[in-house]
């Protein structure tokens, strides 16, 4: 049986950690979607330089560990005089990491829309960006929602990495409480339950969105 007295004794820490995880996840999510859309549009852009930049960024981020990226923002940037606290480093690190995957999901969605639509848009006098905004992206979003949803869930769970740069999230307090009480298993079960409070509603919301969008077809 789980030792609920630990949950009660440390409710302040669990709650503070939960709020930090929630805040970091939400902020990183918004930032990564914005960054991801920009990258996706760059990647399919007819301009070779933009395309090259986006490809390099995405490849670099997807092929290096998240932990090292976060260390770069937290421990690396002070070398050039930029001092970020764990919360900001973690949010930026997570957003940068997630944006690469989100960009790829969006790019796949855009390319799933027939290329004839781009040509039709351009032929009727819209600019490239206008064509994207009014014709392609609204159609692409339906294809993109399921993989995007998975990325959001990954981001919330990935935020646990904040604990390793002393960002006071759920995982940080989990580690501290576990080493104080020596009740390792129960503490991490409680931590997992708090993550479920975030991920289950998110997951349900994405399913709801999928159903709604497919009904509009």
């Amino acid at each position: 049986m789980l030792d609920f007295s630990i949950l009660i004794d440390h409710k302040k820490e669990f709650l503070a950690g939960f709020l930090t995880t929630l805040e970091v996840s939400l902020l990183a999510l918004v930032l990564s979607v914005i960054l991801g859309i920009v990258l996706a549009v760059m990647k399919i852009s007819p301009l070779k330089m933009l395309k090259g930049l986006a490809t390099a960024y995405i490849e670099f981020i997807q092929n290096t560990p998240l932990l090292i990226q976060i260390f770069f923002f937290y421990f690396g940037l002070p070398a050039v005089g930029i001092q970020l606290n764990p919360f900001i480093s973690g949010t930026i690190g997570l957003a940068v990491y997630s944006s690469a995957y989100i960009a790829e999901a969006i790019r796949a969605g855009i390319q799933a829309v027939s290329h004839g639509q781009v040509e039709a848009g351009r032929a009727s006098g819209l600019t490239y960006l206008q064509t994207m905004q009014h014709i392609i992206l609204p159609q692409a979003i339906k294809v993109v929602i399921p993989p995007l949803g998975n990325q959001f869930l990954n981001l919330v769970m990935g935020s646990a990495i904040l604990g390793s740069i002393s960002g006071k999230d759920l995982m940080y307090y989990g580690d501290i409480i576990a080493s104080d009480t020596f009740v390792v298993f129960d503490v991490y079960i409680f931590v997992a339950l708090f993550y479920l409070i975030l991920t289950v509603p998110l997951s349900l919301f994405i399913h709801h969105l999928e159903r709604k969008l497919s009904a509009s077809d």
Binding site: Y74, F75, P78, A79, Q83, P86, S164, I165, S166, K168, Y172, D175, I176, S179, D180
Partner: protein, 271 residues
């Protein structure tokens, strides 16, 4: 498990006995320390075998330049043995670790242990400890010139600690207004200090002294927060050896020899 260990210990001792007996026929002096302990006084021993470590700079470590093990613990051991036996060359070092040191002392492989060994109640059941020879305990490391001089200056300061230790908790208890941040390991904690993520790093002073020696821009302040002294261990009940070690240790401190060794290795005066 216990029984197995005991049998193993007996087996090892008999092998050692057999080996050392067969090695020399003419003299009894070569019998292992354990066997001659009861018959002869310590002063008559050929040598004293000291268990030392080689994994804790600057207390006992292997110098990469000449591949020799050296350090504070070894010099203390050498000075004590010299005082007891009256000669420089009557000491033999044996490398031990945290797991092997007590079994090796018990079965006679070594006569005393001088290896960063904290005096604890649990260990007192297994061995006898000398008076403390090093005042170990939690301390503070700061960049040189820091305004922080001790535990009383931590109000509103960012204190870096290592996860899995009690160091952070101790600071929170003794200085509730300090902001404690804990890192995964010592390397990351020290990086946090050097990159300005916190004002002070806290853990055992022995570890901090090693860091300060390798990074001259940093220094220890405020002494030890909670005293957990190290002792020299001798076999349980070996009162003669214990008294001899304590008498030598006292002499070293009185003559200033101890301070010399301390400053040689730790580049600071004892507190």
């Amino acid at each position: 498990m216990k029984k197995w260990q005991k049998n193993w210990g007996i087996a090892l001792v008999s092998v050692l006995l057999a080996v050392s007996m067969s090695g020399c026929g003419k003299s009894d002096d070569a019998a292992p320390a354990l066997a001659n302990k009861s018959e002869k006084s310590i002063k008559d021993m050929d040598k004293i075998v000291v268990g030392i470590g080689s994994d804790a700079f600057p207390f006992g470590y292997v110098d990469t330049a000449d591949k020799k093990t050296k350090g504070f613990d070894l010099d203390i051991a050498a000075a004590i043995v010299k005082d007891i036996l009256g000669a420089d060359d009557k000491i033999e070092y044996k490398d031990v670790n945290g797991k092997t040191r007590i079994p090796m002392l018990k079965n006679g492989d070594i006569d005393i242990i001088v290896k960063t060994m904290t005096i604890t109640e649990d260990r007192k059941k297994e061995v006898d400890f000398s008076d403390p020879y090093f005042s170990a305990g939690q301390s503070l490391l700061v960049p040189k010139g820091s305004a922080i001089k001790g535990i009383d200056d931590l109000k509103g300061k960012k204190v870096i600690a290592v996860k899995g230790t009690r160091d952070g908790k101790t600071i929170e208890e003794k200085s509730p207004d300090a902001i404690v941040s804990e890192y995964e390991n010592l390397g990351e904690a020290f990086t946090a200090l050097t990159t300005g993520k916190g004002d002070v790093l806290t853990t055992d002073n022995a570890i901090l002294m090693g860091l300060a020696l390798e990074n001259p821009g940093y220094e220890l302040v405020g002494g030890v927060i909670d005293d957990q002294p190290w002792g020299i261990a001798v076999r349980k009940g070996d009162k003669e050896m214990l008294d001899a070690v304590n008498a030598s240790l006292k002499k070293l401190k009185e003559t200033g020899e101890y301070d010399k060794i301390y400053e040689k290795w730790l580049k600071q005066k004892p507190e």
